[in-house]
């Protein structure tokens, strides 16, 4: 008569043996399958790769990838991840500038007008006058300006006395072709 405890020990031993056998068989199976796949891939790999490449080309040829990207890809988000400063640092600006036709660029600029605007903006004639002007020229300029002012005042007084409008002040411009009065 086998006791209950002995039966339990035998069962446990059988289960352990069975588990070991299954693990061993699994390892061997996987090794065998890998070997098989390796062998098949060795034989069929190049043609299979060519087939996949042809298939991919055919599929991609039917697709407008640019349009797909535009519609489905957030390019701003992609660009935001790019370190543009690093890219810019890698650009050889000197080489870029060397390729620029500076002469043609300058030809497109209206340099006389630019120079004129600069000279007028800084009032170069006045600077020259102040730096080189003699006392005599300052005196003459003052005399001229004062005489113009006096002309204006005299004209205003005369107009007021003669009850005239101010449509004909000092310096009323003669129009082209105007002669006499």
């Amino acid at each position: 008569m086998v006791s209950q405890a002995e039966m339990r020990d035998v069962g446990t031993a059988l289960v352990a043996a069975a588990g070991s056998a299954v693990r061993t068989a699994g390892r061997r199976g996987r090794r065998a399958a890998g070997l098989f796949v390796e062998q098949v891939g060795f034989v069929l790999g190049p043609s299979a790769r060519r087939g996949v490449r042809s298939l991919a080309d055919a599929v991609l040829g039917q697709l407008d990838l640019t349009d797909l990207v535009r519609r489905h890809v957030d390019l701003n988000a992609v660009v935001a991840t790019v370190d543009l400063d690093a890219v810019a640092r890698r650009i050889d600006v000197d080489a870029v500038v060397d390729r620029v036709d500076v002469g043609a660029l300058v030809d497109r600029l209206d340099l006389p007008t630019l120079a004129r605007q600069v000279i007028e903006a800084v009032d170069l004639p006045e600077i020259i006058r102040q730096s080189s002007g003699a006392m005599a020229s300052e005196t003459v300029q003052g005399l001229r300006l004062h005489s113009i002012g006096a002309d204006e005042r005299v004209k205003q007084v005369v107009d007021r006395v003669l009850l005239r409008g101010r449509d004909g002040p000092v310096g009323g411009a003669p129009k082209p072709g105007e002669v006499g009065s």
Binding site: E120, S147, I148, A150, G171, G172, A173, V179, G180
Partner: protein, 189 residues
């Protein structure tokens, strides 16, 4: 103030026909005239400026007469130093010489640059009605007119167009023109 001609282009003292070309192709000449005076360039001068210019010209005339007198005296001294006497010139002779000299002076000034020394100092120029430089004939007649009847200048104070009697008779205009060069005649003559 009325719109002066030459306001945009302070150089010329007279109306120059607009050129039908792009502005970039004919750059506006730089002006050495002070900004405060530019609006007046080309406008008719008033009586004060003209009288002052005449006064300067009179000073020039007096100096020229004095120079002539000194030169005449020096010549007489060199010719006969032992019997040298200070030459006496009567008034009427001096007036006649002065009138002739002044007429010639005004004629040359107006016919060449459009201004005498007095007008140069005051920044004035005498031009024709269309802005052209006066010819020798008209300059001479105007000069003669000014010498014979100088009071006609004061009519410019009353005239609505700032013209003297001489201007009315000779159809001339006196304008402010501080430009050193005479650019008034580009469209004239």
């Amino acid at each position: 103030m009325s719109q002066p001609f030459g306001h945009e282009n302070p150089g010329p003292a007279v109306a120059v026909p607009q050129q039908q070309v792009p502005r970039q192709q004919v750059p506006r000449p730089l002006s050495a005239i002070p900004r405060e005076a530019r609006p007046y360039q080309g406008r008719r001068a008033g009586v004060v400026s003209r009288v002052l210019a005449g006064a300067v010209d009179l000073v020039v005339l007096v100096l020229a007469l004095a120079g002539l007198y000194v030169a005449y005296a020096a010549l007489r001294f060199l010719a006969r130093p032992s019997r040298f006497e200070i030459p006496h010139v009567d008034g009427s002779t001096a007036v006649w010489i002065g009138a002739v000299l002044f007429t010639a002076y005004l004629t040359v000034g107006w016919a060449t640059t459009g201004r005498t020394y007095g007008a140069h100092v005051l920044g004035l120029r005498v031009v024709g009605g269309r802005g052209q430089r006066l010819g020798p004939g008209r300059s001479f007649v105007r000069a003669l007119f000014c010498v014979v009847f100088p009071l006609g200048l004061f009519w410019s104070a009353v005239s609505r167009t700032s013209r003297s009697v001489q201007d009315l008779g000779l159809r001339t205009v006196v304008v402010y023109d501080w430009a050193e060069r005479d650019r008034a005649v580009v469209s004239g003559e």
